[in-house]
């Protein structure tokens, strides 16, 4: 069977299992990978299935540990306290509320290069504020998801650019300005687009009515120690401060969670970890399934066929190919998209400034975190606001995503002009 037919067959089996037989997405992906391996003459290809499933091992650990951390912030009372503080500060300032909240969401993404981390940390902190101020929950989730993605592409740490740069021997230097040129206008436009119409300015009495309980009087500054621990350690990681331990993001979240044991309302740590793991399980199984699916697609030649199909587009359609393929490939992972497609696209645009090109491509690749079935930013943002159907969230991300896509393509087109100023 040719590689094209195998890809079609794998997608067909997946659709059959997920949509007709209503099996979980992760399980459907795993079985469609097995079917693809058999159709490709590789047998069950057990080694490849397991190898592929480990492709997202680090991401899985980050997700589980971040979910535990988020739950700890909830049960200790930190989340309510921060909501109360933000509400008291911004209840009559719509514009500054939206922009401050956007920057807060972006911050963890800026220092870790991960939208998931942003959505599950400060995203979870600000979500109640936005909802209490009148933003519907699906729009709140869209706001957080887009904030996470913008944080991922904002300087100082943009892993997508680093991955692409690694493939073309481009050092990670001189990227702050081009990335800010892309991110700052998008952050302003997107926060106003999603939030300005729905956020209500309220008076003091109304604010008092929706104000959650603050625990600062009872626990004092200690309440913020888990957050403080996580941010300091993350900064240490991203700035490579000498003598600061390099623990990795999962260990940082776990340490922050353990600090939470001594800093607020008492809770059962094991119960919290169990609940968090249970909540994370569906997305973890999707990541394992996607890992298997992509490994078998590569093994049977499907990945190469896909990449070549987009690269073979005539020059006039190259930008269209970039705009379509990079976010679509993000269904596998935004980082995978940067590596597999970003590098050949930079080389296809080699007559342009690689710093500007890679910055623009990272903005486009970042949108992959909105692409089902993984859609990490969308799924976790939905989980933060307790929305079961994450497609409702993705619907509100569509226009902001188009803003970001257009910005990326415009920067690519204007690269020769920008080159003179940067």
């Amino acid at each position: 069977m040719s590689e094209v037919l195998i890809v079609i067959f794998m997608v067909f089996v997946f659709a059959l299992l997920a949509m007709v037989l209503k099996l979980p997405i992760g399980v459907s992906l795993a079985f469609s990978a097995v079917a693809g391996a058999i159709a490709g003459g590789e047998g069950i290809a057990l080694r490849h299935l397991v190898e592929g499933s480990f492709g997202y091992f680090d991401t899985i650990l980050i997700i589980v540990s971040a979910m535990i951390f988020m739950r700890v912030l909830l049960v200790t009372g930190t989340l309510d306290t921060i909501t109360a503080i933000l509400l008291k500060t911004f209840y009559k300032r719509k514009f500054s509320l939206l922009l401050t909240v956007m920057v807060l969401i972006m911050f963890p993404g800026m220092i870790t290069g991960s939208s998931t981390t942003a959505v599950l940390t400060t995203g979870a902190l600000v979500a109640p504020v936005l909802m209490k101020m009148g933003l519907p929950k699906v729009k709140t989730a869209a706001f957080i998801a887009m904030g996470g993605i913008l944080g991922m592409i904002a300087p100082p740490v943009n892993i997508l650019v680093m991955i692409m740069g690694g493939g073309v021997d481009m050092p990670y230097v001189g990227l702050t300005l081009p990335l800010l040129i892309i991110v700052i206008p998008l952050a302003i436009i997107i926060s106003l687009w999603i939030g300005y119409r729905d956020i209500k300015i309220i008076d003091y009495t109304q604010m008092q009515l929706i104000l959650p309980k603050s625990y600062t009087k009872k626990y004092g500054f200690a309440l913020f120690l888990p957050l403080f621990t996580v941010f300091i350690l993350m900064l240490g990681e991203s700035l490579s401060i000498p003598l600061m331990p390099k623990l990795g993001i999962p260990a940082i979240f776990l340490l922050g969670s353990l600090v939470g044991l001594f800093c607020g309302r008492p809770f059962n740590f094991f119960k919290v970890t169990q609940e968090a793991a249970k909540e994370a399980m569906p997305i973890l199984s999707i990541l394992v399934g996607v890992g298997m699916f992509i490994q078998i697609m590569t093994l049977t030649g499907g990945r190469g066929w896909l990449v070549m199909s987009f690269l073979s587009l005539p020059p006039v359609f190259l930008y269209l190919g970039i705009a379509m393929s990079m976010p679509l490939f993000g269904a596998v992972s935004a980082f995978g998209s940067a590596s597999i497609l970003g590098v050949p696209f930079i080389l296809a645009l080699i007559n342009k400034n690689a710093i500007i090109t890679s910055s623009a491509l990272s903005a486009i690749a970042g949108l992959g975190d909105l692409m089902p079935p993984t859609a990490l930013a969308g799924i976790f943002a939905a989980q933060v606001v307790k929305e079961k159907n994450y497609f409702k969230v993705l619907r509100y991300c569509l226009i902001p995503a188009l803003f970001e896509l257009s910005m990326g393509i415009i920067i690519l087109l204007l690269a020769p002009i920008l080159d003179k100023f940067i």
């Binding site: 590689e3 490709g40 057990l46 080694r47 490849h48 299935l49 397991v50 190898e51 592929g52 480990f54 492709g55 680090d58 650990l61 220092i111 870790t112 290069g113 740490v157 892993i159 680093m162 991955i163 690694g166 493939g167 073309v168 021997d169 050092p171 990670y172 230097v173 993350m234 990681e237 991203s238 490579s240 390099k246 623990l247 990795g248 993001i249 999962p250 260990a251 890992g291 992509i294 490994q295 078998i296 590569t298 093994l299 049977t300 030649g301 190469g304 066929w305 990449v307 070549m308 690269l311 073979s312 995978g336 590596s339 597999i340 590098v343 050949p344 080389l347 296809a348 080699i350």
Partner: protein, 379 residues
Amino acid sequence: MSFITIKKETIKGSILFLSIILISFFSGKQFLQMHKKDIIIQGPGISSKVKLSVYFPLLKGTPGDTDVYVFKGKEEGGNLLILGGTHPNEPAGFLTAIILIENIHVDKGKVFIIPQANHSGFTHNDPHEGNPQRFPIQTPEGIRWFRYGSRLTNPVHQWPDPVLYVNPSGQKLSGAESRNLNRCYPGKAKGNLTERIAFGITNLIKKEQIDLAIDLHEAAPEYPVINAIVFHENSAELAALVYMELQMEGFEFRLEASPKNLRGLSHREWGDTTKVKAILLESANASHGRLKGKPSVALIIDGKDKNYVKASRIGRLFVPFDEKGIPLKVRVGRHVAAIKAFLSNLQEVELGKGIDITNFPSAREIIEHGTGIYLEPPK
């Protein structure tokens, strides 16, 4: 009712648990195959085999420790280091090193060969690349198998990756690059495993007063630095002489100066931190490109790939690529030809530093008859 529910859950859980045990057992057996070492047969010209930890004792007993094959000539001359297997998914590099180990005799000078520079990288494959674990080479008296590993150190040996990797030369890179040996030079004595391997190699260069060091690599055909001699500025004259000699012999190479702002790579840091003439050689390997079709043993050995033929036609490659592909024997042959040219020109630029080697494999014969003719039969 609740009893029945618990029982159902227990049964489901037990089946799942049993399945995981079985999957782990059978796949684990396959993964452990990658820890079985390649057989490298010591040729008659070898003077001694030492470990890299001799040059940096902290490596001793770690998965980063690796074999260094030493060839001492009777006459004093120059000192040469050849490095293969910096990236274990670039087979022409380590196969060239193995062919030299199994054949050469050194009459003048000293030669050090490390065939598996990142030993840990040979013990695993990259997820989502679907590569085979091993590939065969036909020798006149049977087949020998070699591992096809990963570009990076095994995460079992070095984990977790940092968010952002700042290498010993201060270059910022994505976290996974902390496991890429050719981004970790000159290394760090108290660094991670990969940085310690790099530190050991740099120490070897210093302690043995190496005059010329050649790092053997392969690159994807879509990568601009391909079929290339990458040289540090201290070896520009030598590289130019070699380039001309290779051209006269019919081998097309590019000359690429080592970029000064791209830190952590062998050709940059060896040249900056030691007195060695630092060189890196690249050949074109379709099996580790992003456009590759179905990964297979045939792709590694024959180097034929219809995707790359198409990519070449539409001008997306930096190397000619047609239906004949770029076979492993051609890639190894090019490395061998380049090394020989460096040896013949070293004396020209460094008086008294000549290295005389007999029984040096012929690049033309390798290209014509395959790499197997210069490999010892399997034992």
